[in-house]
């Protein structure tokens, strides 16, 4: 789980919380606004109703000039509705007919809310500068304004109180809502992500070499399905893995048998020829031992034994790859020595030699004779590939504490099909008696023993490069392979 930068659970919680906060706040504000407005509308409606009712009632009394009854009505309003702060009636020429203020009447109020014509009512917010009270003043015409108008002032503080009460409820609601939302987010996130975490753990623990533990999830949803699929996949992977392993071991065995086959048949072939020669000679000597050809036959027999000895020695070289004692070796010297051994052959086949050996190439720990043999082998192969002359380029340089030696020729090249065979013992394309097919395998083993590597690059008809690299001495690693 260390690789997961942001946990799924955190993402879940964050996004749900954000959504809850965003829409929660919108909700709250909307609800608050609606309640506030409806409270205000309600109050306004009530005020308008009171004023209109009064306006209708006073018509008769006003027409009859019964101001006593008008005053009674106006006074009653204040008693009936405690939200009504004041009520007064003014005539069409803006004279106050009756009012229910205590004793005196604030004259400025008359002009504060004037009715425009043909309006059923008019509402204005009026602020008392001295007492700092807010009133909702409602003006309603009496008999279409012909008899004046009724004015009712509602104390806004009562509705403010109601709004404040509603506000506290809302704030509580918000908190509960948010807390519930966030708690829900946690629970939700846990429910969703814990099975996913189980699956992730399952992946992390999956080891094909051991029997896999099954992931057990019972959520009855896609995640359970995913877990089932995972178990199935793990099972399949494991069986495939086992099959593959078996196949591999089998393959290795077959390969081993195959190379032993090549080795044996090659060996048999190489030894069979001189052996039959030997047998031939011995038969002839046996028939006429006193013949003077006997000496000639003995020479032939020696030759055949030499050949056998050569093969056996080569085999021994191949098998005894583990080197004894390594000493510092100058690569330049080794290469020069190799060239001196094959110089006459190069001349004979009129091969142009280009040597590019860097001076700073350094030395390495190794066996100079074996390395010599490697390069002799490579050069001989190149010569064999260029019987009618060509170019032989030998490059040596140091790259990153690696000594690289390239042996390049412009010979006939190696067919692609043979490229992975040339390092097999006894693989040769050369006619019998000319090549044993041990040169490259021996060289390969020697290079390996020095901790290096050898590669081939070749194109038929163009040429071949044998690339050798060996660890340099200065790299500090001494390649001492004992045993």
């Amino acid at each position: 789980m260390k690789d997961v930068k942001v946990k799924l659970r955190t993402k879940f919680i964050l996004s749900i919380t954000i959504v809850v906060l965003l829409f929660g706040s919108i909700n709250i504000i909307l609800i608050r606004k609606i309640t506030l407005e409806s409270l205000q509308r309600e109050l306004e409606k009530r005020g308008v109703f009171i004023a209109q009712n009064l306006g209708e009632h006073v018509i008769e009394y006003l027409l009859h000039e019964d101001f006593l009854s008008v005053q009674k009505l106006v006074d009653e309003i204040k008693v009936l509705d405690k939200d009504v702060a004041y009520t007064f009636i003014i005539s069409s020429d803006e004279k106050v007919i009756t009012h229910n203020f205590n004793q005196t009447f604030p004259v400025e109020l008359i002009k504060a809310n004037l009715l425009s014509e043909e309006k059923e009512y008019n509402v204005k917010l009026i602020f008392d500068k001295n007492k700092r009270f807010l009133y909702r003043d409602i003006a309603v015409p009496i008999l279409n304004g012909e008899l004046g108008m009724v004015r009712v002032g509602l104390a806004e503080k009562n509705i403010t109180y109601q709004i404040n009460k509603a506000n506290t409820i809302f704030t509580g609601m918000v908190i509960v809502f948010f807390l519930a939302g966030i708690f829900g987010a946690f629970v939700f996130a846990y429910l969703i992500t814990s099975p996913i975490s189980k699956i992730v753990d399952g992946f992390a623990k999956l080891d094909l070499d051991k029997t896999a533990e099954e992931i057990r999830i019972k959520t009855h949803d896609e995640i359970e399905y995913l877990a089932d699929k995972f178990n199935e996949m793990a099972r399949r992977l494991q069986s495939t893995h086992n099959e593959l392993k078996n196949a591999q071991t089998k393959l290795i065995q077959t390969e081993k048998l195959a190379s032993i086959g090549t080795l044996v048949s090659g060996l048999a072939h190489e030894i069979n020829n001189p052996l039959s020669g030997l047998k031939n000679c011995l038969n002839r000597i046996k028939k006429k031992p006193e013949k003077k050809e006997t000496l000639k036959y003995l020479d032939l027999m020696l030759n055949a034994l030499d050949k056998i000895e050569y093969v056996v020695k080569g085999l021994l070289d191949f098998s005894r790859t583990k080197s004894d004692i390594f000493s510092p070796v100058s690569v330049k010297e080794v290469i020069e020595k190799a060239f001196s051994l094959v110089g006459y052959k190069l001349e004979k086949h009129s091969i142009e030699v280009i040597k590019d050996i860097k001076n700073n190439i350094g030395s390495l720990m190794g066996d100079p004779h074996k390395l010599e043999q490697v390069f002799v082998n490579l050069i001989l192969n190149s010569i064999d590939a260029m019987p009618d002359g060509g170019k032989l380029i030998v490059e040596a340089f140091n790259n990153n504490n690696k000594i690289c030696i390239f042996v390049e020729d412009t010979g006939k090249g190696i067919p692609e099909a043979y490229l992975n065979k040339i390092f097999d013992p006894f693989f040769t394309t050369k006619e019998t008696g000319k090549g044993t097919g041990l040169g490259l395998p021996i060289s390969f083993n020697f290079i390996k023993a020095h901790g290096g590597e050898i590669f081939v690059e070749s194109k038929q008809g163009i040429g071949t490069i044998m690339k050798v690299w060996l660890p340099s001495h200065s790299s500090g690693k001494t390649n001492r392979r004992e045993k």
């Binding site: 101001f67 604030p106 012909e146």
Partner: protein, 317 residues
């Protein structure tokens, strides 16, 4: 994938702010500052109204509001024609109107025929004009009951409930009293209960609502309502129509100067000749105004005398 997620979250937040902005952007109501300390003790100055040279008094034929609307146009027309502001006073009872005329508080009035005959012989009240309705200066009293009522004739109202309009009303009280007197019955205990409605339209209303079994109403008001609010009379039926009476006149008193009086008379008599006047008359359902004569009200006076005599008889029997 990541980009679209970011865009989504961004748009969510933008949407949020947009909504918030909209919510808070509600139009703030304008608040007016008023100095409540600037006060005045004596504000009831309505009573000290400008003295109008013509002050018309009306007794409520219909409810005060209806009456006001009914006469307002006529009043405006008159005041424009004679170039003098005319004010209007309404009173609940006919007696109050008569008092206004007698004291001089009003000098011009529409009064009920019943109220007119009650003015003292030597009073300062003088007939000015009388409207013509359907080519005659007469009106009637309609005796009405609920349309579902079993009452067929006036006698059936015996020991039933009945609505009178006003003490001085001709059509609304005097006529049914006369009918009872003719039956040689005592009006005081003829009905099981009497209520005073002080408006003919209200009398119709209480009958329609079965609050009383019957009522006696002014034909002019009844026809006016029939024309303008036919729904209101759907539930009532007329079971008896009185003989014709002189239509309630327009009167003046001696407090009015003769010049104004003549102007008033002229205006009223020529009203039907100009378009505007014609329209107002039509609304009031009057043809025109003509010279009024006291004899028009003799039938009412006779009826009144008959009832009085009958009452006296009852008293001393």
């Amino acid at each position: 994938m990541l980009k679209s997620k970011k865009i989504f979250i961004l748009s969510l937040i933008l949407l949020h702010f947009f909504l918030l902005y909209n919510c808070n952007n509600q139009e703030k109501e304008e608040i007016l500052e008023v100095d409540f300390s600037e006060t005045e003790t004596d504000v009831n100055n309505v009573s000290k109204k400008v003295q109008f040279s013509i002050n018309m008094a009306v007794s409520a034929m219909t409810s005060p509001k209806e009456t006001y609307i009914y006469y307002q146009q006529l009043l405006n027309y008159i005041s424009r024609k004679i170039n003098t502001p005319v004010s209007m006073k309404q009173r609940k009872t006919y007696q109050e109107v008569n008092n206004l005329l007698e004291t001089g508080e009003s000098n011009f009035a529409f009064i009920c025929s019943g109220a007119y005959i009650r003015t003292k012989k030597n009073s300062n009240i003088e007939l000015l004009a009388v409207p013509i309705v359907k080519n005659e200066p007469y009106y009637y009293s309609y005796i009405i009951t609920h349309k579902d009522s079993s009452i067929k004739k006036f006698d059936d109202f015996y020991k039933r409930t009945f609505a009178f309009t006003d003490l001085l009303s001709n059509t609304g009280r005097l006529y049914p009293l006369y009918l009872i007197s003719k039956l040689k019955q005592n009006p005081e205990n003829y009905f099981s209960k009497i209520i005073y409605t002080h408006a003919h339209d209200f009398s119709i209303h209480v009958v329609a609502r079965k609050i009383v079994d019957g009522a006696s109403v002014d034909s002019l008001v009844f026809e006016y309502i029939k024309k303008n609010n036919p729904d209101k009379i759907l539930d009532v039926k007329i079971i008896k129509i009185s003989p014709p009476f002189g239509i309630p006149p327009i009167v003046v008193n001696r407090y009015i100067d003769s010049k104004t009086k003549n102007k008033l008379r002229k205006t009223l008599f020529t009203m039907h000749r100009d378009e505007e006047g014609k329209k107002i008359l039509k609304n009031l359902m009057f043809d025109k105004f003509i010279e009024a004569h006291d004899y028009l009200y003799n039938t009412v006076r006779d009826m009144d005398n008959f009832v009085k005599k009958a009452e006296l008889k009852q008293k001393y029997q």
